[in-house]
């Protein structure tokens, strides 16, 4: 190192460098560059071996990448990624004060509430960063054009579908809520036509009735708009348009906050589109 040291000392500068030089790097190193931008948290906490596996490269490539960025080795680069998480802590003192307060009352239930709050906040923020305006617009257009909207969502998703049904009712939008009452769920889609639309909500483990209904709708060429949790969901396969919502969980209970916000958005957007 005889030249002036331009190696980034903070995350923003490093990110800029990776974006700038990323494309021009050799294949494997460029692959790592993309991975680093997409999964900064994994770089921060992973080991060379674990990250290499996730990014589908050899461990040695990670060291070469780090050196290409100007660091002596991987550990030095990782330190930048870690500092980013350290600095993200908003107001340290405030959190400590919170802790002290809780130490007094030490209510287990209150701590649960904090956990669920955080899961909800995180889920919403996460969806906000991933949600694409294009998908949203297409879904709204489809639903606004439908004669009748069939709402499918059972078990854990039933709060969502019942909310949508309630809101559609207030907004004067013709809809059918499929509630599985009397085990006759599949009958309720019998009269659906390609001029209608299905709004389906389901998460792992996908309720079998929901999957059946969506498959049936797709076969009948009824457009399906789905809210689900991964590209591998059986709903994603049959849906014309689908949203991926990754809800954070706490104590094994997944939040519903992000899904609910999305459902509200869809209902109101559809109403506004129809109104104009």
């Amino acid at each position: 190192m005889t030249t002036a040291d331009t190696t980034p000392r903070d995350f923003a500068a490093l990110k800029a460098l990776i974006i700038e030089r990323g494309k021009t790097l050799p294949k494997r190193l460029s692959q790592i560059a993309a991975f680093a931008l997409d999964h900064p948290d994994d770089i921060a906490f992973g080991t060379v071996a674990s990250i290499a596996e996730q990014a589908q490269v050899q461990p040695s490539s990670l060291i070469r990448f780090s050196q290409a960025m100007g660091y002596q080795g991987f550990s030095e680069l990782q330190e930048i990624f870690r500092a980013r998480l350290r600095d993200r802590v908003p107001n340290y003192e405030e959190r400590i004060a919170q802790l002290r307060e809780h130490a007094k009352s030490a209510s287990k239930a209150h701590i649960l509430f904090e956990g669920f709050s955080e899961a909800a906040q995180k889920s919403i923020a996460d969806l906000g960063s991933k949600l694409e305006a294009g998908t949203l617009d297409k879904a709204v257009a489809r639903l606004a054009a439908a004669q009748t909207i069939y709402i499918v969502g059972l078990r854990r998703s039933f709060p969502i579908s019942s909310y949508v049904a309630y809101a559609f009712g207030k907004l004067g939008i013709r809809h059918v809520l499929i509630d599985g009452l009397g085990g006759l769920a599949s009958n309720d889609l019998t009269f659906a036509t390609p001029k209608d639309a299905v709004l389906a909500v389901s998460f792992t483990p996908y309720a079998s009735e929901t999957v059946t209904l969506v498959t049936q709708a797709a076969r009948m060429h009824v457009p399906v708009i789905a809210i689900t949790d991964s590209a591998f969901s059986p709903l994603a396969r049959d849906a014309e348009i689908w949203f991926e919502v990754a809800e954070a969980n706490f104590e094994g209970f997944r939040s519903l906050a992000a899904t609910l916000a999305l459902a509200m958005t869809l209902t109101v957007a559809v109403a506004e589109k129809r109104g104009s």
Copy 2:
């Protein structure tokens, strides 16, 4: 490990455990407990040796502490501290930056989503600052002691009550969801006794069936726990314990996020109380 595994899997639960058991631990371990609460980030990023030095203990004490908390070793405990940073909601600057990125492609629907997100976030934060641990504990105790929990919540509150019913079902807690099907709602409380409890949810304009049911329950000396929106609510009058939840609204649609977080807290807390 033949006993039931109560080892915390997320930070909030671990924090609770450390607060609870911290004082009763031996000197050095209690010292570590205090350090862990004060410097969670250092635990997340440090090595056993570096943390030991900062906390003024021997490295081996850290392993002993981890084991005292139920983990196999320090690494397992550290993973909880790391997950906390992974899942942390992005800070303000990051959210603004994200918003800017989206502003380019901002469609009308996307703006709606931002609005509902904000309403949800605000509602949750607001409830978090107002919720009293004492009220929460009392409500949990009441519900945990009940033989059968009757869940009342119609119209806009139905998503909440159906969620609670779903969760109680999964947790094996005896309950009756009053869904007003067939207009026979009031019959469903006929068999309730003072050994049971009613969990009622209602907001302005209060669904008349809900109000009737709660009044009826109070007259029959069935304890009522209510979630509502003001001290002037007819539910507050008849309830033994009640929560005030002020949901922010956007475009005339009130959020449900805070109510949902509270409902989740109550269900899980009741299950945990019964389990112990």
